[in-house]
Point group: C2
Chain length 436, copies 2
């Protein structure tokens, strides 16, 4: 075994987050050593292209293109994985855990797909797998769920966990932009990829929700089972209508523990203007956790970006290094219980809704809609109509609480009415949760 008074780490990947981690390690080396009880020493940094310009904090001698060289290092203590993706990262992390190394990762995709299995492996091997940076960038939500709420029962959580969607929705609301305009600007600023589906269709948020559900509800669930929708169909009018009703549209990840089943869903929703979540603008993320004893607790901050994410990686690294040095690796993951949980079918979810019907402006239309809703047991809370006299108008409604399946059936019925002039929009409303 190596010198007991040094913790040796290697990085898989040296992109913006990896560079940020190396910079923080360099800038704060003395302080980190005092917190850990020993210096943190970098051994190797795995990269694909060794000729590429790297962060100044990355020394040439560390760089290698050989994963074998990194993983077979007999002196390695902790592996930091910041390459992302499932296959390679998964194989390398698994190998590191099997060797009993500590692992710190920012890889939400891998955790959403293989989190419980890898955590089990870490517990089995008596080592640590830490992943604060996988959800919410620099926001310490994993730590809070894992540690602060140890004695509490997490009843529900609501999160704005995708900064790209939140940025785009903010611009659409504030500047009256279309989805396409907002997307182009997000791409120009580097907030959205050229192929934006992962963000704007909600898959990134669904992956993060699966990771959160693992800790909040002890639920092992499959990402592809989470009902997920994105923000493509929204337009600036929806934002105006929501504002008129006293709401803002946010893209949310929602989780609720029903004991037998777990409710998980990702979609845009109307949030009351007075709710703190409504004020979370731009690329910021926010996650509200509601514990039975704790009540509501909101965490908000930069959900992505090199430095916030790097701060979370280094915080994990300090924990893992410290536990290792003290000979108590695996302490933090011990006792996290997860079991396979069924996801509550979306049709059974209860919610109030925002409805938007593009209709021909003629008598009897409202009566038709109202009676169809009534037939499915859905009652209208308020409604208004736009642009009367122009031939086509929008009828906007909010409903009292209804079963999602009933609402879908009512929408299908109404869609066949001859006065309907386009796609019907319906969005759930976040209610009675404005307490934080």
């Amino acid at each position: 075994m190596q010198d007991a008074k040094t913790i040796r780490i290697s990085l898989l990947g040296c992109g913006t987050v990896g560079g940020g981690v190396l910079r923080l390690l360099k800038q704060n080396s003395a302080y980190l050593a005092s917190r850990v009880g020993a210096p943190l020493v970098v051994r190797k940094v795995l990269v694909r292209d060794p000729t590429k310009e790297r962060d100044d904090a990355c020394e040439r001698g560390w760089v290698t293109t050989s994963a074998e060289e990194v993983l077979s290092d007999p002196e390695l203590d902790v592996l930091v994985e910041v390459i992302g993706g499932e296959q390679d990262a998964g194989a390398l992390i698994e190998r590191a855990l099997r060797r009993g190394l500590g692992v710190v990762t920012a890889n939400k995709l891998l955790l959403a797909r293989r989190g419980p299995e890898l955590l089990d492996l870490a517990v089995q091997q008596g080592t640590d797998l830490a992943f604060e940076a996988s959800v919410g960038g620099g926001i310490p939500v994993i730590r809070t769920l894992r540690e602060a709420l140890t004695s509490d029962w997490v009843e529900q959580l609501h999160g704005i966990v995708n900064g790209t969607c939140n940025y785009m929705l903010t611009r659409m609301r504030e500047d009256g932009w279309s989805f396409e305009q907002a997307l182009r600007e997000a791409q120009r600023l580097g907030y959205a990829e050229a192929e934006p589906s992962l963000d704007v269709d909600g898959h990134d948020a669904a992956q993060k929700l699966v990771v959160l559900a693992m800790l909040a509800f002890g639920a092992r669930v499959r990402e592809d089972k989470v009902p997920t929708s994105g923000i493509r169909t929204l337009d600036a009018d929806d934002h105006r209508f929501a504002a008129r009703l006293g709401y803002r549209i946010k893209h949310l990840a929602v989780g609720r523990d029903h004991r037998d089943k777990v409710e998980l869903r990702v979609h845009p929703a109307l949030v009351p203007e007075g709710d703190v979540l409504a004020s979370v603008s731009g690329v910021l993320n926010a996650i509200r956790v509601e514990g039975r004893a704790l009540g509501p607790c909101l965490l908000s901050g930069r959900g992505a970006g090199a430095m916030p994410t790097a701060v979370s990686v280094v915080a994990d690294l300090v924990d893992v290094a410290r536990a290792r040095l003290a000979g108590v690796a695996g302490l933090a993951t011990r006792g996290i219980q997860m079991e396979t949980r069924e996801i509550l079918p979306l049709q059974e979810v209860l919610s109030s809704f925002y409805l938007r019907f593009p209709v021909q402006d003629r008598p009897g239309v409202l009566a038709g809609i109202a009676s169809a809703l009534g037939a499915f047991g859905i009652s209208i809370e308020q409604m208004f109509q736009t642009n009367p006299g122009k031939g086509l108008v929008d009828i906007i409604m909010t409903t009292h609480q209804a079963r999602w399946g009933n609402l879908e059936n009512a929408m299908r019925t109404i869609y066949n009415y001859d006065f309907i002039a386009g796609d019907i929009r319906f969005l759930p409303i976040l209610r009675d949760e404005s307490a934080s």
Copy 2:
């Protein structure tokens, strides 16, 4: 030494928080044992009045009125202090630390007065002193400052840390109540004491700020050196005027690291309506920390109350118990560096301001105020006047950034003008920090 596979704890105090702790320990005993690695067993509960009705979770056999009996218990591992106050609690905690016991406390007063000294003692004795519950009830702000921001430099923090003030300001704004009305209602609801000075004059917030500054800035400062003001002088008109300008009035604890000195202050301030802090209503607390690398991070939730506070106490208890069991007590406090720091004199603080001048409604008044402000280098950003034609009017202004000392001098000059018809009000404005 006792059986290594049990952690024995005793409580000092069994009020609402103590009762909540015992309830959580009872309800979650199996889960907590799996997280800790050993059962948590209660030995003694110190109370003043043994005849008083206690929480059901408090067993009769535990209750004692003898501090000696609790502290001399040779099998004790961790002491939980929830009696509050400085003298008795301080003496008992010091004695426990000297014995090498772990200590968990919710006592902000004690920490504000003796925190650094007691932390030093804990480090010296190789044991833990944990105090998450001392600030922000169930909000994991201490944990976040201590762990999540390990590699970051905390530049500033802003907190709504007194729920009583926040509740009262919320009612004054929403319902047009006077300070006295809001106070009576807060007292009726149990949010304020019969003698409310600790809350409404800002001392409670100042104590919490001192604890936060200890972790955020590594600053040892004396609570009585923190410039502190409360909410007594505010009235419903101030809330209306602030709203007209696009702000809400919040009672804030503010800290900023100036390297040589540390800026700490407690006072009501105007917060932009779009800022998340503005949406934190009622008894909720919120703390925004800004790290150099992390950017802004906001934590919000119930800042007081038996169960949220108990959740924080039990989270600390799990940490302390786990470290003890693993033979690594003192690990978490290691490396926290604190040094005596001078507080930046309030006169040197830069801020923009809200000003309210009650004046006689006659020509030349505005010119007089404006020229006095100009003479002190203070420039007006916007202004409006109320109720013209009634003899007495209010002139409301906001200023660009100015030095606090200059503003005070200008106010002293203007106060002597013969057209001034009452007390001048000035409040700082929170600016350029609406990012979270």
